[in-house]
Symmetry: C2
Subunit: 331 residues, 2 copies
Amino acid sequence: MSKKSVTIKEIADIAGVSVATVSYVLNGKKKISEKTRTKVLAIVQQLNYTPNLSAQNLRTQDSKLVFALVNSINSSFNTEILAKIDQKFDSRGYQLLTLTGKIPEVIRTNIFDGGIVLNYNLSFDDLEDLARHVHKKMVILSGSTPLKSASIVSMDNESGMTLILEELYKSPHKRICFICGPSESINNQERLAISEKIFKSLFQRDDFSIHVYNGFFNSDAAYEVALKLMKSDSYDAFVCFNDSMALGVYQAAAELGLKIGEDISVTGFDNIFFSRHLTPGLTTVAIDKDSWAEAVVETYLAFNDENHEPTITKIPASLKKRKSIQLRDNT
Amino acid sequence: MSKKSVTIKEIADIAGVSVATVSYVLNGKKKISEKTRTKVLAIVQQLNYTPNLSAQNLRTQDSKLVFALVNSINSSFNTEILAKIDQKFDSRGYQLLTLTGKIPEVIRTNIFDGGIVLNYNLSFDDLEDLARHVHKKMVILSGSTPLKSASIVSMDNESGMTLILEELYKSPHKRICFICGPSESINNQERLAISEKIFKSLFQRDDFSIHVYNGFFNSDAAYEVALKLMKSDSYDAFVCFNDSMALGVYQAAAELGLKIGEDISVTGFDNIFFSRHLTPGLTTVAIDKDSWAEAVVETYLAFNDENHEPTITKIPASLKKRKSIQLRDNT
DNA sequence: TTGTGCCGACCAGGCCCCGCT
DNA sequence: AAGCGGGGCCTGGTCGGCACA
């Protein structure tokens, strides 16, 4: 299999010039006469020659490949932001390669210029470990704790969670429960911490922890949990730490004939695409994904400066009001 | 930036052995005494050495990297199957790297062992062009027309479309329209062709083409189209060529107070995750994604045999009955 | 002797310094 | 001065060979 690919040497031989000349023609770093230039290019074209990237990277110690490490490629939240980042890297001459797995071998080798990590389920320790291995440009898309050699561009969970709980406070529904994500997730940890703070101060209650249920950030688990809780009629407000889980809550409500926005209130986080397609629309926390993606790419490229030090950037969140919260007056 | 990484030569120097010895220790192709082995490994461990993949690939002319080219990473259909393929490649020692773009430069270079193409919007000509460039293992996940140097493992659109239209035939709703995808998409072409055939034979009508509307495979466009059509009350059955578009139809129906499964019928294709979370559940065409992924990986690995010839495999489709079609009697 | 254990040296493809005409 | 080429080098794999028991 895999026919041998044509090399620069073959091009040189056929064109009757040296390898050096072909190389110069291809990357235009030196003046070459128009005559040889066209001759070489014609042969390159004809033989469909492409430089061997391994050889190129090896020699130049440089690469325009950027990895994106994600916990799962099958997640709307991940792919929505990934699509934008991909696009922005592309316009700057970098190619984004998405890969999954805890810490794949391949990122420890040096075919990549650097990478970004978009991963709900990577603990701080995992990140430190990763940063030790990838001694290059690295941007993490979650968390707030500075890392030795990676920048952070993450969403502002604190303001986001505050916005949504303040909105929910306007509802007559006050028997709140929290459907949260996996404990390893940094975003989950942050959302949990700030929720507790607000719950205590705004709702003036001290029994936060007993109203927290794990939905593992996925709709099926959240569905199971919600179904049980609804049957026992313990709660009339469901604060989901992401939109996927809100979807599971919607499904449970539909099954039991509960009207969302009337009988119960439901909130999400992330504003992924289907949250506006639900009936009623899901009130959730949005973050401008375009700005986020832009910040990620800029932060990444900032490593190109000599002596650049890692930075931490927080992307502001806003409230996306729809109809899943019942409000006292219809404001 | 990017501290210089440690090389095999440094390891050799520190261990007081030759590079050859270190190399043999690392890939165990030759007997090395236990004593030197442990000594070398200790230093490798300590300096956190990882072989330079570019150098390795260059020398061995071999790679365990597989690309997955997709039109968009932000599509549930793509990511659901991708996640499974990723996993199966992983268990066979290959690393899957997902990338987007028409024909990215990087796949023409030889850092990849080969790749798969999962792309609704790549025409046959694009595929031929791609196959010319990637003269290696290649598996395409759509289409039926044999390619010179790539295998095909695609879903059986014909049987899928037949199943769903036969089911719809049991409904009293007979004013059918078809919401289809972009014309370049091979899957769209196949679904369109077979729909026309069945429409003519089963429903015995000859005016197929005037009931076809383009929804571009995305929910927003489908929503716009559906809203207009519903307002004019021209149709009571909406056959969507994928589930995303069915989502748009659901939204339009909700807005106009139309009950799906009662006032109108809606069908999908692909059975992506949220189709079972909708209310009512979406009746759609399912394909066993696990079998599909398995077939893709097996087909890919078959290229390892000498003189392997490209193959074409069709993955069977089945009907996922839910409640979005109104049936005459409640069977 | 006949291995066993190790090493020197070359090779893979392409970039680019430096020197030649 | 303008155009071109020789050859070292980036890193790691591997073959033939050599020393030593």
